[in-house]
């Protein structure tokens, strides 16, 4: 039985509609317009047909792609696009989300299960979205005696550090968010942040389990950071540069993994410790210390940590590809953009449409991205594999591996690189010429 609300007055309803329109206009003019102007400040508006964009022209965007494309092209070359969409956060988050889904299906196949199946009809493809919504709708519980500012800051710092790491990975020639001349040093500096974040949040949560987990994370990451740094020195010696883009360019003919395979293996093992993945997931060992330094996180705070972890996973896989597997280098397989469309446009019946902005991306960049993604996905699959094969190691074994075995191997690797350099096999006068 439905009835009109007892207090209903038609005049008040009309008044409330006007009220609503007033507030929408007010908020748009106070908040929306400045945002529009900020965006316009960053995007250079092109001059189309000899005239700058007018409000009338802006209305014809939808109908005429020849007006839209130049604006899109200009937007693509802004820094905002790089940070938010392509080599930056959006691209990495997309790969990270795909990684989570592939990990679940891959592991399920290994363990004779089906994995996510129902959500989204096709093989549970929407399961991740469902999990994300669930985490967002959950209550965030903070322990009563926690140090609240630091506890809140932990997940944000974690995602921030992971995002900073992602921004240093060059995806295609010229396509990198930040390209400092000491890129590899910046990577080492960012990796050094993660144990600090772990210990800070663990201490701030004021729980015994997080405390033990934080200390374990600190011990493990410090123990594996040194072999990580040493294992990459071989590549630096051979390529003579700390800039990641230069390192990729130096591998046009030979990948460095062919000359310094020991360094690649050591780096690959340290990735597991830095990512806290099995067999080195001691800081989160659930049968010993509940969930380690993540014990007290709930809701989207935990979701942010997971997002950061998978961003970090992508960044490490990308770093492995950049340093050892030749980055974007590969045979040209991407077809060139048809020249006919650029010069003559497309003719459909009586209408001929010209697209002055095409092509949006050049062929080099698309080909480089393709090879980079193929190699990165391969490395990510190799990183996922041990979760189905290995048990967790013990703390003393992990530390022994890090401080003793891997550092020894890393030094051997450095000597091999130096030997290759001084024997004249590589470098000036060697194979690189």
């Amino acid at each position: 039985m439905s009835t009109i609300a007892p207090q209903f007055r038609f005049s008040r309803f009309i008044a409330s509609l006007f009220d609503l329109i007033f507030w929408v206009l007010l908020i748009f003019s106070l908040v929306g317009l400045p945002i529009v102007f900020i965006i316009l400040f960053y995007i250079k508006l092109p001059i189309i047909n000899g005239q700058l964009m007018t409000p009338y022209l802006s209305m014809t965007w939808m109908a005429d792609p020849s007006r839209t494309l130049p604006i899109v092209k200009n937007f693509i070359h802004t820094t905002i696009f790089r940070v938010m969409v392509f080599p930056g956060f959006g691209f990495a988050a997309l790969l990270a989300a795909a990684t989570i889904f592939v990990e679940r299906k891959f592991l399920a196949k290994m363990q004779l299960r089906v994995g996510p199946l129902y959500c989204g009809k096709i093989e549970g493809i929407l399961q991740l979205m469902g999990d994300g919504f669930k985490l967002m709708s959950k209550e965030i519980i903070i322990p009563a005696k926690a140090d609240k500012p630091i506890f809140w800051m932990g997940p944000l710092l974690f995602v921030g550090a992971a995002g900073a790491f992602v921004s240093l990975i060059p995806v295609a020639p010229g396509w990198v968010v930040a390209n400092p001349s000491v890129g590899l040093l910046a990577v080492f500096a960012i990796i050094g942040f993660f144990p600090i974040i772990a210990v800070l949040t663990a201490w701030a949560a004021n729980s015994k389990w997080t405390f033990i987990g934080g200390l374990r994370a600190l011990h493990q990451m410090v123990a594996f950071e040194i072999p990580l740094i040493l294992s990459l020195l071989g590549v630096v010696i051979l390529s003579g540069s700390l800039n990641l883009s230069h390192i990729v360019e130096s591998q046009q003919h030979f990948w460095w993994i062919t000359f310094v395979p020991i360094g690649a293996i050591v780096f690959f093992i340290t990735i597991f410790a830095e990512l806290e993945r099995i067999p080195f997931d001691l800081p989160e060992a659930e049968s010993e210390i509940v969930a380690g330094w993540l014990t007290e996180f709930s809701g989207m705070m935990y979701g942010l940590i997971q997002l950061g972890t998978y961003l970090k996973l992508y960044a490490f896989a990308g770093l492995f590809v950049v340093l050892f597997l030749g980055g974007w280098n590969g045979p040209m397989v991407w077809p060139p953009f048809p020249q006919d469309i650029i010069t003559n446009g497309i003719t459909i019946g009586p209408v001929t449409a010209k697209f002055p902005g095409l092509p949006l991306f050049d062929q080099q960049m698309l080909n480089g991205t393709l090879w980079f993604v193929i190699k990165t996905v391969g490395v990510i699959l190799l990183i996922l594999l041990p979760r189905g094969v290995f048990p967790r190691v013990r703390m003393d074994i992990a530390l022994h591996t890090g401080w003793y075995k891997l550092i020894g191997l890393a030094f051997i690797n450095i000597f091999i690189a130096l030997g290759l350099l001084y024997a004249g096999v590589l470098g000036p006068g060697g194979l690189l010429q």
Binding site: Q111, R113, A285, S287, E288, F390, P391, D396
Partner: protein, 377 residues
């Protein structure tokens, strides 16, 4: 001001370096119990197991029901091993009431008990795997367990709590095509077991983690009164099925698995190897079983035991289970005392965990083959 403490209480002195951890009852690494662990850094200083969270008073309940009504609730402590926990009860009541069991029923009981032992060990192995962070070893045994659950479902009609063994035989006969189906599934299972060896027991990381940790010497194992796989992993050749054979175990061909090391690795491996022997027993029993005949001796309604007492024990998945039953000319037993393997193995946990690393705690804890619900009864 000094406060007068009640007698028996004392103030505990707290060392600044030592942290007390309550592992359980709300902890992914504990069962329905609590371990009060004191750690100094990564090393365990002392461990105090605190069972009793799932005490259900099975022994008292048994005093209010007659001998047949006791069957369903007595299997509740270990629903994964329900045939084996009922076995000594049935043997004891048969002796009290003077019942003869048909030959075919004895073989069917042995088959049911061995199938149930495999179900229990697979469940135990699955949790052992996930306790060590090996998720594949969690999924594989949990999936292969279905083979035996299906077989026992065909035998008894229930998937987990079978109530299949009764004083006087078994509840009902085998289905018509059981023998062929059982042989097929056991053969497949033996093939699967060999894959466990490759992925779990020969895994170098597992060996590095469990070999040489939590060593229980032969003398300590005997002194502390452990039983079952813990005892056999410490080099003591003791199996109730061999030493005090009940029903038809003396006719069947199998071996006792004994390992000398006494460490976590040996304790994890002995039950695994026993599954091969269980498969041998099942195949042998199916061959030697009389193909037809009665499977249950009819009892009088509401049978009364004499003024008598009896103690019978069998080998379960967790060690020897003993039932001490006293009757006093009434339809209900006067007293039923259950001695379970879990509780006897629990006692060596403080000995084993003292001085161990915290990372060894799950391996040592679950390696003791301790099932909290059964220990509390």
């Amino acid at each position: 001001m000094t406060t007068q403490l009640p007698p028996g209480m004392h103030i505990e002195t707290v060392d600044e370096k030592i942290m007390t951890l309550n592992v359980g009852p709300q902890h992914p690494g504990s069962g329905h119990m609590r371990l009060i662990i004191k750690v100094d850094g990564d090393y365990i200083v002392s461990c105090d197991p605190d069972p009793g969270y799932v005490h259900r008073g099975e022994e008292k309940m048994a005093e209010y029901r007659n001998y047949i009504q006791n069957i369903p609730h007595l299997e509740r402590p270990v629903i994964h091993d329900s045939s084996n926990i009922l076995y000594p009860y049935c043997l004891g009541v048969e002796e009290l009431l003077g019942i003869e069991v048909p030959e075919r029923a004895k073989y069917i009981r042995v088959i049911a008990a061995e199938l149930n032992r495999c179900i229990y060990i697979l469940y135990w192995l699955a949790i052992y795997g996930i306790f060590l962070g090996h998720s594949t070893m969690f999924m594989w045994p949990a999936g292969d367990r279905e083979l035996f659950i299906d077989l026992l479902e065909a035998m008894s009609g229930a998937r987990v709590t079978h109530a299949y063994l009764v004083p006087g035989g078994v509840r009902n006969d085998l289905p018509s095509n059981f023998e062929e189906r059982c042989l097929r599934q056991v053969a497949y299972f033996e093939k699967r077991l060999k894959e466990y060896e490759a992925i779990f027991y020969q895994n170098p990381l597992l060996k590095a983690r469990t070999e040489g940790s939590g060593i229980l010497s032969r003398t300590d194992a005997i002194r502390l009164g452990t039983t079952g796989s813990v005892l056999r992993a410490s080099g003591v050749d003791f199996d109730v099925r061999k030493k005090e054979p009940y029903d038809v175990y003396e006719n069947l061909d199998f071996q006792t698995i004994v390992m000398k090391e006494g460490d976590s690795y040996a304790r994890s491996r002995v039950p695994y190897l026993e599954m091969f022997e269980s498969c041998r027993i099942i195949k042998d029993a199916l061959k030697k079983m009389p193909k037809s005949g009665s499977v249950r001796t009819k009892l009088k309604p509401n049978p009364k035991g004499g003024n008598d007492e009896v103690y019978r024990r069998v080998e379960s998945g967790r060690g020897a289970i003993g039932y001490y039953i006293v009757s006093n000319n009434r339809p209900e037993p006067y007293r039923v005392k259950i001695s379970v393997g879990s509780f006897r193995n629990l006692i060596c946990m403080p000995y084993l965990l003292k001085g161990e690393k915290l990372g060894n705690m799950p391996a040592v804890y679950w390696g003791l083959n301790y099932w909290p619900v059964e220990a509390d009864r």
